[in-house]
Structures are given as structure tokens and as C-alpha cells.
């Protein structure tokens, strides 16, 4: 008997029919008991969680993709970082006007900054989702000190189950990464420190969606 045979022999006999109906019935209970985390405006819910005290990432809203390089330059200047950026090798990002910066399509072990685009995001947890591919090296999300992420507002889904449904409809990548904030550790006396092994800073460039209304002007008092 192989180890496999022995383990299966020790398990109760599998039922004649596959337990799909029961598995589906379990999932049918989910919508009624999810944490009430997503309001009618998914983009607002996502941003609130992303930049809230727990995840503590930063974000800039942009109207169009053409504004991405300027927003990256502004971030680098604000954090006194050099012009080198590891730029994810996708056509959509590589063809933008990066003048003033020196982008490269690979990533080094001590890379200061990487810029890459999330496939989509989940409003419930403010998670950014990356799918490994020829154009998305997994390490772009783990090696840099500053991780700048481009996200289209239209690509925000409300719940984790929506992410699961998106994935069920296409072939699985080698790595499906849900990134929820910068790397952190509480391993020394429970004290939270950012930048354990992965990025210490996470900055999101959110493209499109309904832009926030300008701050209301004080009404003229007659």
C-alpha cells in the first residue's frame, strides 16, 4: 500500500454523488452575514479603508491615465526619491510619457520604487489584486520599498466573493496576490513596524470614477 492508498483507506467512503449542492448552499448564506463594509459608492468605501488608520496607505485620484507619470514624479519628489523606477512591463504603462524619469522593466533586490497596475481591487478589504503573468512579475509587488499601484476605479468589486467569481471564470495564474497595505510585522513585543520584508509604503493612483466634489464654498451671508 502506498501512503496515498493508506490515507484514502482511512477516510470514510466518499458519497456516491459529489457534494456540490451542499457546498453551494453554504455559500448562499454568505450575503446575509458579511461585515457591513461596503456602502453604495464602492470607490468611496475602498478609499476610506485604504487610507484609514488600519491599512494607512496613501492615494491620489487622477482623471485620466495620461496623468500617471506626473503623479509618480510628484510622489518621488515628495519622498525625496531618485528618478529610477521599476516599471511593470505592460504596454499600457510603458507607452506613457515618462520624461524626467528613468523607468526599467526589471526589478532589483533593493529596488526603491516600483510602479505596477492592479488587475482589480476589492472594496470590502481595500485589497489590490495582482495576477502573475509575462507582464506581471510577482516580485514587483514584494521587493520595492515604495510600491506605487495604478488602479482603474471601474475595476473595484465590492466583496471578496466577487473576486473569487472573477477568478473562477478564467485560468488560474501561478500567483494570485491580494495586497492589503504595506508589509508589516508585530513580531517584536506586538509593536507594529512597516516594511518588514515587503514594501514599507503603498501608494495608489486611482484613475477615473466619480471625482470627489470640490469643497463647498462658504455661503454668502446677506
Amino acid at each position: 500500500m502506498t501512503a496515498r492508498d493508506d490515507i484514502f483507506a482511512a477516510l470514510p467512503r466518499a458519497a456516491g454523488t459529489a457534494p456540490h449542492a451542499e457546498a453551494a448552499a453554504l455559500l448562499a448564506r454568505v450575503p446575509a452575514l458579511r461585515p457591513a463594509r461596503v456602502g453604495p459608492d464602492q470607490v468611496a468605501s475602498f478609499l476610506e479603508r485604504l487610507t484609514g488608520p488600519v491599512i494607512a496607505a496613501t492615494a491620489t485620484r487622477l482623471a485620466t491615465r495620461a496623468e500617471i507619470p506626473a503623479a509618480v514624479r510628484a510622489y518621488l519628489a515628495a519622498n525625496t526619491l531618485g528618478p529610477q523606477i521599476a516599471l511593470q512591463p505592460t504596454q499600457a504603462l510603458q507607452t506613457l510619457d515618462w520624461s524626467g524619469l528613468t523607468p526599467h522593466p526589471t526589478i532589483a533586490v533593493d529596488e526603491p520604487v516600483s510602479v505596477c497596475e492592479a488587475d482589480y481591487a476589492v472594496a470590502e478589504t481595500a485589497s489590490l489584486v495582482f495576477r502573475s503573468s509575462p507582464h506581471m512579475p510577482t516580485l514587483f509587488a514584494f521587493l520595492p520599498l515604495h510600491h506605487i499601484v495604478v488602479l482603474e476605479a471601474a475595476r473595484i468589486v465590492p466583496w471578496l466573493e466577487d473576486a473569487a467569481a472573477l477568478e473562477a471564470a478564467r485560468p488560474a495564474p501561478r500567483n494570485l496576490n491580494f495586497v492589503t497595505g504595506a508589509s508589516g510585522t508585530t513580531d517584536i513585543e506586538g509593536t507594529l513596524v512597516r516594511g518588514a520584508h515587503g514594501p514599507a509604503h503603498l501608494h495608489v493612483l486611482l484613475i477615473g470614477g466619480q471625482m470627489p466634489a470640490p469643497a463647498p464654498q462658504p455661503a454668502n451671508v446677506p
Partner: protein, 467 residues
């Protein structure tokens, strides 16, 4: 209690810093979990669902195990089966040798600890680099993990600073926890990239995709599993879930119960080796599926324990764990879940003290995200211990004496009436600092002086007053 356990408990109780260290981390964890639970009105219903998902898997384990195997093989993964801890370690060591590995990185995995993988790798002469910060601390100290989520919780920042200053290549200032974390980052950076093999565990095995899921906050799992040529996973067969969607429901419970966050910073589903054109990822992906007592638990009335998500909430809330810490338990798993699991893994004669080191206050069952009836399972081990004649003679005699008195109310009342004033003789301002035959208690803490009258006498007096 066995002498070895007594010695470990005494060492823990007399350790001058241990209790402070435990309280700093578990106190923080309890507060954050409580806040996360308070913010989720349907938490109770979600726990029921978590329990039902895991029970559904346990009841259909053969089906989901076969489905996982089929889908993982289709993704290009290689599947290995291990009945025991030794078989699992042998498989991992053989895979490392086949890969010509001189250095392996490892992301924290409780299953890896359970099967003794760190020791097996060392015995095989394979350099092991622990990448989780706490496991790195534990490895440098030549120590053992003392908590399933915070393995180095027993170390104070001063102890960590001293060790990093001696053992890191570029320790820098180390004047803050931030500086210590930065030093560990520098120390491990190149090692991630140079490893030949990366080893991880799995929080979930997803049956309908063949993917395995890891959760970390540091990002060390992905840095362990992406650069090397070979990624090896060791996982218990109970980690199955039907689909990614089912994993999501359990992730909500797991992470809130462990750290109070809504999701860990990095939640990753690893499916197969790197695709032909992928920019990075391992060329080989091996999954070692480990039984090590799990199928036996199904037939020995311990199937509820197979729901365990390894969140650590029962440890953080346990009044015994909070006093003695993880090392005193002597096994891989401490606290309430360890008191149930260690007798399975090490045998009841070896682990007989653990089910006894419990007050049965029920807090563990109250916080368990998948409603494991831990006190009931602990009592089950006590019953078995009694049946096997493992209970110490003094305990059985004392219990017989107590039963003799308790079934004779008049005698019992007389006994308590005589005992109370005697006990009070030893107390000063409400507390007894030492008691005959009770040094096990008073050695570490005072004993409260009993009331002047027994409970029954007080009731009788009140009734009399009212009348």
C-alpha cells in the same frame, strides 16, 4: 503532574520577564480581536458558517482530497503523500537533494514545526533560513516557537536587540523596534534571492483549482516561494476548502481572530509552477499532503478539532497560557488547541499533563472562530487518561475522598465548617501566603482567605433573617 511538566511550568512562572512579554502581545491581540468582532454584527452567524464549511469538508474529505489532487496535478504541481511526520520530512529532504539545494528559505508553517522539518533539514546538512521575523529570532536564539502566530512572543525587545547586535552582519543602531526590523530586512534580503528551494505551508488547499493559499503580513511567503527554482508546500490534509469563495469566508474569520485585521497584508493563492512565459516564479512546485494523525482523529471523536484554522485566539485568551506561555506545554501546539492536539501527536502518556492544565473556564470555545468545543475535547482526554490509569494516585485518592464526602451532605457540611477557620488561620489581611499541602498554589501566588461561613450556612442565615 509529571516531573518534566512541573519543571517547565516552574521555570515559566519564575521567569522575570516572560509574563510581561506574554501580556504585551496577547493583550494587544485580544483588544484588536474584540474591536474587529464588535464591528461585525453577524459574527456569530459567520462562525456558524465557518464551522459548517469545515465540517462539510471533513465529511467529504475523500472527495475533496481527490479533487484537489486532480486539479493540482493538472496545474503542473507534483503531489506527494505522507502518512507520518518522518515520511513528510524524508520527502522534503529528498526533494531538496534532488534540486541540489545548499540553501533553503522557509516561510513559517505550523505543519512544518509539527513534523519537525527544521530539525530534519539541519540533520540533512541543508542550510535553513527562517524568513518570518519571529522565526528568524527563534532560529538565531536556538530556541523553539512559543505561540502559533507570534512564535517569538516570549522574547523582549532587549533580548532581540542583544541577539541581532551579535549575529547580524550589519546590525546598525538597533535603538528601536523599527531599527531591529530594518536590520533583519537587510540580513535576509540577499538570502531570499539566493535560495535554491523555498518551503511554505498552506492555510488553505483549494479543491476546485488545486491552488494553495498562504497568508502573511510581512510578505516573506512570496519572497520565499517566488525566486527559488523549487517551491515545496507541506500541508495537513484538513486544510481543504471546496473553492476560493469558501476560502474567503474562512479568511474573514481567521484574520480577525488572529490579529483583528480584516485581511492579512498578503493573501496569495499559489497554483502550479511558473507558466512558460511568466516573468518569475519557481520551475517546480511540490505539495506534500500530510496525515500525521488526522485520519485517526476522525475515528477517535476528535473530528471537531480538524476545523482548527490555527488563528491563536484560544491561546491569547487562555488564563493558563497567559501564565505559563508556550514552552511549558512541551509540544508544537500550546494553549487549549495544543492540549487537544498534542496527545494525538505525542501520545497521551507523554502529553497527559496538558488536558489537566486547564481551568475549563470555556473562554477558548467562546472565541474560537469555528466553534470548536475545546473544553469538551479536553475533558474527553481527561476521561481517557482516567480509563488508562494515567491519573496520578494522589488525584484519584483525593477525588474518591471528595466523592465520599460530597454524597453525604451532613459530613460535607461538617467538613467545610471545620476547614474554614483552619484556612483562615493562615491568612493575613485577606490572603494566605503559604498553606500546608498547597505549595503548588502558594509558591507562585497568594490564596484568598475563605469567607467566615460556608455558602450553605450563609444561605441558611439569610433565610433565617428574612423570616
Amino acid at each position: 503532574m509529571t516531573a518534566a511538566f512541573t519543571a517547565r511550568v516552574s521555570a515559566a512562572l519564575t521567569d522575570p520577564t516572560l509574563k510581561t512579554a506574554i501580556e504585551r502581545t496577547t493583550g494587544n491581540a485580544r483588544a484588536k480581536r474584540a474591536a474587529a468582532v464588535a464591528a461585525w454584527p453577524s459574527f456569530e452567524a459567520a462562525r456558524d458558517l465557518g464551522r459548517d464549511i469545515k465540517d462539510h469538508v471533513t465529511q467529504n474529505l475523500a472527495f475533496y482530497l481527490a479533487a484537489f489532487e486532480r486539479n493540482a496535478l493538472a496545474s503542473g504541481a507534483q503531489i506527494h503523500w505522507a502518512r507520518t511526520a518522518d515520511e513528510a520530512c524524508d520527502i522534503v529532504v529528498r526533494l531538496c537533494r534532488q534540486a541540489g539545494a545548499t540553501s533553503v528559505t522557509r516561510a513559517k508553517s505550523m505543519l512544518g514545526e509539527e513534523i519537525g522539518l527544521p530539525h530534519a533539514l539541519e540533520a540533512a546538512g541543508i542550510a535553513r533560513v527562517e524568513t518570518d521575523l519571529a522565526e528568524h529570532i527563534v532560529q538565531l536564539a536556538g530556541d523553539r516557537p512559543s505561540h502559533i502566530v507570534w512564535p517569538a512572543l516570549h522574547k523582549t525587545r532587549e533580548q532581540v536587540r542583544e541577539m541581532f547586535a551579535c549575529l547580524h552582519h550589519e546590525p546598525g543602531g538597533l535603538d528601536s523596534v523599527e531599527a531591529m526590523v530594518a536590520s533583519a530586512r537587510r540580513e535576509l534580503r540577499q538570502k531570499f534571492m539566493r535560495a535554491d528551494v523555498g518551503i511554505s505551508g498552506a492555510n488553505f488547499l483549494v479543491a476546485d483549482t488545486g491552488a494553495i493559499c498562504t497568508v502573511t503580513n510581512e510578505g516573506n511567503a512570496e519572497l520565499t516561494t517566488t525566486p527559488p527554482r523549487v517551491h515545496i508546500v507541506t500541508a495537513g490534509i484538513e486544510k481543504l476548502v471546496p473553492s476560493t469563495a469558501h476560502a474567503m469566508s474562512l479568511l474573514r474569520l481567521l484574520v480577525r481572530s488572529a490579529t483583528g485585521a480584516e485581511l492579512t497584508q498578503y493573501t496569495t493563492f499559489h497554483c502550479g509552477p511558473k507558466r512558460a512565459d511568466d516573468a518569475d516564479g519557481p520551475r517546480e512546485f511540490h505539495i506534500v499532503l500530510v496525515d500525521n494523525g488526522r485520519t485517526r482523529m476522525l475515528t477517535e471523536g476528535l473530528e471537531d478539532m480538524l476545523r482548527c484554522l490555527r488563528c491563536g485566539a484560544c491561546l491569547n485568551h487562555c488564563v493558563v497560557y497567559r501564565q505559563i506561555g508556550g514552552h511549558a506545554y512541551g509540544g508544537t501546539y500550546p494553549g487549549p488547541m495544543g492540549a487537544v492536539l498534542t496527545p494525538v501527536l505525542d501520545g497521551l502518556p507523554t502529553a497527559q499533563d496538558l488536558p489537566r492544565a486547564c481551568t475549563l473556564n470555556g473562554l477558548c470555545a467562546e472565541v474560537c472562530p469555528v466553534k470548536i468545543p475545546l473544553p469538551t475535547l479536553i475533558k474527553g482526554w481527561r476521561n481517557k487518561s482516567w480509563r488508562l490509569g494515567l491519573e496520578p494516585r494522589a488525584v484519584t485518592l483525593a477525588l474518591r475522598l471528595w466523592r465520599f464526602a460530597a454524597t453525604r451532605p451532613a459530613l460535607y457540611r461538617l467538613g467545610t465548617r471545620l476547614a474554614l477557620p483552619v484556612l483562615r488561620l493562615f491568612a493575613r489581611s485577606g490572603w494566605a501566603r503559604a498553606l500546608p499541602f498547597a505549595s503548588g498554589w502558594t509558591g507562585q501566588r497568594d490564596f484568598p482567605a475563605p469567607a467566615r461561613q460556608s455558602f450553605l450556612d450563609q444561605i441558611k442565615e439569610r433565610r433565617h433573617d428574612r423570616a
